[in-house]
């Protein structure tokens, strides 16, 4: 202990530590260890030289010396008391006292006996004031031996009075008494006596605090001093006051209660906030993201159906609409109406008109879209979420307007869009599926649709539902309407197709379309998981045959090619005869039918039983087109459902969204088909479409495709219809190619991959083309609203265009991504519309952007799409291109196309977009157009870049190739067509379509030739085996394509190849 104490007390002192070898270290003693190890800080070896301090470099931070090494440690001049704590304790202080200090002895006090008995009273009574003089004399005499000389007589000071009885003595005595009396009687004497004898002490007179009289004052003073007693009094008074204060406090407490109130308020505020939050959340979650958007969309949709500005009522109307849509009658009616519209318009004159009309509307949509707000305003006033609303509005507007005006341009646009949307085709497929189901097979669709999402409306609703029920409803309603239109359009298309071609061909295309759709649907439905599945599926497809992997792509490509081809064929044919209208109707029907079938086949096939689905579609195709369609749709829905099941809600939502989109697209289709189909009822269309497909192989398809495209465009049910259409288109082309050529088959196969049947595919291709166009056109229109509006003078068309745009965008996105398709529906419902529009607006300001956005937004889908499809990638580029092209086209060639083959132009534009997405041809066309227009519009570059980044390089290359090829070919075709079509969009579409068609025809045919093998391949692809053939087909197609209009083929092939490679 002492060692510790001593060492501790010397801490911080300088020390010299000598070790065994005699070396001395100097440092500051820092601390020590239990083993008596010593630590020196800032130690240095002490040199022998005196007076030389340590150099900086000689000092060691710290050195630890073991006790065994230490010989002696010396601390110089240490104050051992330095750190003592008790400097001021008693002991410490006492220890420092200087000198001796003796304390006095205390003595007990002896009060004396006299006081024993008496207590304090005795003292009071004791008059004696201290010592008696005698006592003092006595005490001093005894104590000190002093004898007092005191004489009480005071003889030494005075003389005693001698009394006598003499007169004189008496006189003097009397006189003395008189004088004394006088003196005493005087006032002065009294005053002086009074002063001298005043009993009051000075304290009493001057310093004492007198209470008696001053109580009153005290009272007054109490408030100040608050003496104890007073305090009590005051306390009383205060009590109240205090109580009051407490009360006040309480009151304040009351305030607190108020506070609590505030708290309540705060709670309420919180609640409010909560509410707000909830609201906000709601807003953010549902309204903002999708709901609001959706609502707008829906509202827009309703507007579409009836008036653009119905947003509020729309939801209800939508539901009602969906039902109506679900009901074939409604669909037919809508379809018929659309058809009728189309019919009137769709016919040559109508088509041009429509194109023109659509062009303007689209233009307006574009303008609107480009300015989201504009979108909202133009399309709808609701403009809740400008972008969304606008989009939706546009879409709705498009839908309504599109159907009527769609006839040619709208239809073409929609179809083109759908084609472009093919990537979206999943969505579109879904949409188409739903729409087809609803339209073609009201009961089945309704049943299926409900199952999927609750019918097409439900489908849309699901999508919307996830985001926002309201929105969904509206969207559903719109979707339903769209679907109806689509359905009608499909039916009409089918019917048209039937008349023109054999239903089988259509169904085949449809099957292909369905495949693509399935793929798309898969992609779209389960964004992620579905994407995986889709990827797998796509991979299978690609591996199998037609670039199935890129099935969407292939399908898209095929679609595109087909669509283009068809469109091309159509252009060729149509231009000649302007069969566009008729053809379109067939195409649309075919597309519709194809979509349905495709949807069916695709759905089943996509998940697992691709082949089955195809077969089923075929069967269905064999059966009633409508039924088939419905079944396909159902199948799609089923597939979707499967996917959904896999991905569950999200997928469902997507599906629903897809469905809605599809519906929208369908409406477009319907509208388009209607124009075209007007002759034939929508329902029949499904069947007719196959028939149509069969009858009209290439040319018809081309026309049909164009029409479908046109329809899709007009219907604007971009997503569904476009997919449907696209697929159908591709199928159509394929089917056509099959019947006519293997190459067509290839496309068909591609489309058919899902569904083998060439005819169905043809139908599908046609339908797809139609729808795609429609969809694409819408999308484009949306994107190109400005252009489209220009093109489509009629606002309705524009509105439809918006819808289409939105849908198309969605479709595009789906198509683009494949998964995006799936996304498209959902996105359409929720994100897609809003996002797409916004994105599109932001990005491209047009559909392309939206598409990309969609793709982006739907990452899952996107990847899949990307991975799956270079084509999908192409689609993106295409989309951008389309958008650009549409604008450019609209500006440049739009008018010509419209004028010449309005349907084609419209379809072509749409197709282009679609094709780009789905098929390279479209991309090519778009690209060419874009290139063409690139000068015109910057969008193309952006678009291309956008796509490029998103889309795999391969796809881009392909796209570029396609572009290049297309430019030449397409341009050629386009120029005429464009010339014919005044409207840019239509022109673009037309150009695209033409280019595609041309490509399709020239190149596709070869490709199709190989395609024959492809059809099986397609099946295989769907199943998986076809993949092998498909790639070859693609290659073959590529080869042919280059030779002929190779660009498309090259694209197709390239995409396919890319896909294969990717796969």
């Amino acid at each position: 202990m002492r060692m510790v104490h001593v060492l501790t007390s010397v801490v911080g002192t300088k020390c010299e530590l000598k070790v065994k070898n005699g070396t001395v270290y100097e440092g500051v003693f820092k601390t020590y260890g239990p083993e008596c190890d010593l630590v020196l800080d800032a130690a240095h070896r002490k040199s022998t030289e005196p007076n030389t301090g340590p150099r900086k470099e000689d000092i060691v931070e710290s050195i630890i010396f073991k006790a065994s090494d230490v010989v002696v440690v010396s601390f110089k001049d240490v104050d051992l008391n330095f750190a003592r704590k008790d400097n001021f304790t008693d002991s410490a202080v006492s220890g420092r006292i200087n000198g001796e200090h003796k304390e006095k002895d205390l003595e007990p006090w002896d009060g004396g006996e006299t006081h024993h008995s008496d207590s304090l009273e005795s003292l009071d009574t004791d008059v004696s004031n201290g010592w008696d003089p005698n006592d003092m004399f006595k005490f001093n005499e005894e104590k000190y031996g002093v004898l007092s000389t005191y004489d009480s007589s005071l003889s030494t000071y005075t003389v005693p009075l001698e009394r006598d009885n003499s007169e004189e003595y008496l006189k003097r005595e009397a006189r003395a008494a008189q004088l004394a009396e006088e003196i005493e009687a005087s006032a002065t004497y009294k005053a002086r006596v009074a002063l001298e004898n005043d009993e009051r002490t000075e304290e009493d007179k001057y310093t004492a605090v007198v209470r008696g009289e001053r109580d009153g004052h005290a009272l007054s003073r109490e408030s100040k001093y608050i003496p104890p007693g007073q305090r009590n009094r005051e306390a009383m008074s205060w009590g109240p006051g205090r109580q009051n204060s407490p009360r006040l406090s309480q009151n304040s407490g009351g305030p607190p209660t108020p506070r609590s109130g505030p708290h309540d308020y705060s709670p309420s505020a919180s609640s409010d906030q909560r509410v707000v939050n909830g609201g906000s959340s709601h807003w953010s979650s549902s309204p903002c993201p999708s709901p609001s958007r959706y609502p707008p969309g829906p509202s827009s949709l309703p507007p579409r159906a009836t008036t653009p500005t119905r947003p509020p009522s729309r939801p209800p109307s939508r539901p009602s609409r969906p039902p109506s849509h679900s009901s074939h009658s409604s669909y037919p009616s809508s379809a018929s109406s659309s058809f009728s519209h189309h019919g009137p318009t769709s016919p040559a004159s109508t088509l041009p008109k429509r194109m023109s009309s659509e062009g303007p509307p689209r233009m307006s949509p574009k303008s609107q879209r480009t300015p989201r707000t504009h979108r909202g305003p133009p399309c709808r006033t609701p403009g809740v979420p400008p972008g969304l609303e606008l989009i939706s509005h546009n879409a709705p507007v498009e839908v309504p307007a599109a159907p009527p005006t769609r006839s040619s341009s709208g239809g073409t646009w929609s179809s083109v869009v759908s084609g472009a949307h093919r990537p979206r085709s999943p969505r579109q497929n879904n949409m188409s599926g739903a729409s087809p189901g609803s339209s073609t097979l009201p009961s089945p669709q309704t049943g299926t649709v409900p199952i999927e999402t609750t019918g097409t409306p439900s489908a849309s609703s699901p999508t919307a539902a996830s985001p926002a029920p309201n929105m969904i409803p509206s969207s559903d309603g719109k979707d339903c309407r769209v679907q109806e239109t689509r359905q009608t359009s499909p039916t009409a298309n089918k019917e048209n197709i039937k008349p023109l071609e054999s239903s089988p061909s259509i169904s085949r295309p449809v099957c292909k379309g369905t495949f693509s759709f399935l793929l798309h649907l898969k992609n779209a439905l389960p964004p992620l998981g579905s994407f995986l599945l889709y990827y797998v599926m796509f991979f299978f497809f690609s591996s199998l045959q037609l670039q199935p992997s890129s099935n969407p792509d292939p399908s898209f490509e095929q679609m595109m090619t087909k669509g283009p081809r068809d469109s091309v064929d159509k252009p060729k044919d149509l231009p000649l005869d302007k069969d566009g209208v008729v053809v379109i109707t067939p195409g649309t029907p075919g597309s519709s039918a194809a979509p349905s079938s495709t949807s069916n086949s695709s759905k089943p096939g996509s998940p697992a039983a691709l082949s089955p689905s195809p077969s089923a579609p075929d069967l269905k195709r064999a059966g009633l087109d409508m039924s088939v369609q419905t079944t396909p749709t159902s199948a799609y829905s089923g597939a979707k459902h499967e996917d959904k099941e896999e991905k569950k809600e999200a997928v469902q939502v997507r599906k629903s969204t897809l469905n809605p989109n599809a519906n929208e697209f369908k409406p477009r289709f319907n509208a388009q088909p209607k124009p075209a189909n007007t002759p034939t009822p929508p329902r029949p269309q499904g069947q007719p479409s196959p028939s149509i497909v069969v009858p009209q192989p290439p040319t018809v398809y081309g026309q049909t495709v164009c029409f479908p495209q046109m329809y899709p465009l007009t219907p604007v049910s971009p997503g569904v219809q476009s997919p449907m259409y696209q697929l159908p288109i591709s199928h159509m082309t394929v089917s056509q190619s099959k019947p006519y050529r293997p190459v067509p088959n290839m496309p068909q196969q591609r489309s058919e991959q899902h569904h083998a049947p060439g005819t169905p595919t043809m139908m599908h291709s046609a339908t797809a083309a139609g729808p795609p166009i429609m969809a694409t056109s819408p999308a484009y229109s949306a994107q190109y609203f400005t252009c489209s509006p220009q093109q489509f003078t009629s606002q309705p068309l524009v509105q439809q265009m918006p819808h289409y745009q939105s849908q198309a965008q969605h479709v595009f996105s789906p198509v683009m991504q494949g998964s995006a398709r799936m996304m498209a529906p959902p996105t359409h419902g929720q994100p897609s519309s809003s996002q797409y529009p916004e994105q599109t607006h932001t990005m491209y300001g047009r559909s392309p952007l939206p598409l990309f956005y969609f793709i982006n937004e739907t990452p899952g889908p996107m990847p899949q799409q990307y991975t799956h499809h270079s084509a999908t990638l192409h689609p993106h580029p295409q989309h951008p291109q389309p958008s650009a092209t549409p604008t450019g086209q609209g500006q440049q060639g739009g008018p010509p196309q419209h004028t010449g083959p309005p349907n084609h132009p419209a379809a072509s534009p749409v197709q282009h977009p679609q094709h780009p997405q789905a098929a390279a041809a479209l991309h090519l066309a778009n690209q060419p157009q874009q290139q063409m227009y690139s000068a015109l519009a910057p969008t193309p570059p952006s678009m291309t870049p956008g796509p490029n980044p998103q889309s795999p390089q391969a796809s881009f290359p392909s796209a570029q190739q396609t572009v290049y090829l297309h430019p030449t070919q397409v341009q050629h075709g386009y120029n005429p067509s464009h010339m014919a079509h005044v409207q840019q969009v239509s022109v673009v579409l037309c150009c695209c379509d033409y280019g595609y068609f041309a490509h399709m025809q020239s190149g596709i045919v070869p490709s199709h030739h190989p395609a024959p093998t492809h059809p099986p391949m397609m099946l295989m692809a769907t199943q998986g085996p076809p993949g092998g053939p498909q790639p070859p087909m693609a290659q073959t197609a590529l080869n042919p394509i280059p030779v002929s209009s190779t660009t498309h083929f090259s694209y197709l092939t390239h995409p396919v190849q890319h896909h294969q490679q990717q796969l």
């Binding site: 501790t8 801490v11 911080g12 104050d79």
Partner: protein
Amino acid sequence: MAAPGPGEYFSVGSHVSCLTCLGQRLNGEVVAFDYQSKMLTLKCASSSGKPNLNDVILINLAYVSDVDIINDRTETPPPLASLNVSKLANRARTEKEDKLSQAYAISAGVSAEGQQLFQTIHKTIKDCKWQEKNIIVMDDVVISPPYQVENCKGKEGSALSHVRKIVEKHFRDLESQKSMQRSQAQQTQKDSTLSS
């Protein structure tokens, strides 16, 4: 350790004398002894002659021979006072800083006079530091190399005058000390001469 236990060789308070292995003779009052490490602590009169200070020597008995107990003490040693550890820690820190500062000055090539002046100033004013070869006092007064009174520069004021007084006194004391030494030396010489 309150009292020398059976195992303790030295009782606190006893005076001992020992011879180290290095031939150094040490003696003092036993303050503490650690049997484990054989460390013996002695308290000696301050080598500087200051009455209130002591020299503390820590001896390792392992290297000591000829330990003699001059007188033993049986009284109970005084109780140990509690120590202010923080105060000790501060001292250790300040000592270390001072040493490092000094070392810095030395390594900077400051003359011995400068160092001595620095030490002198530091005794009075803790707030002084080396800046290169200049002594900075209170961040206000700068004393540059010759370190004479006229080298004290800074804002005119009490600080500067105070520092000048310190410097002046330092050299005066230095002179007196030298004279003292001289005189002593002379005396010793005289003594030696006388004795011789």
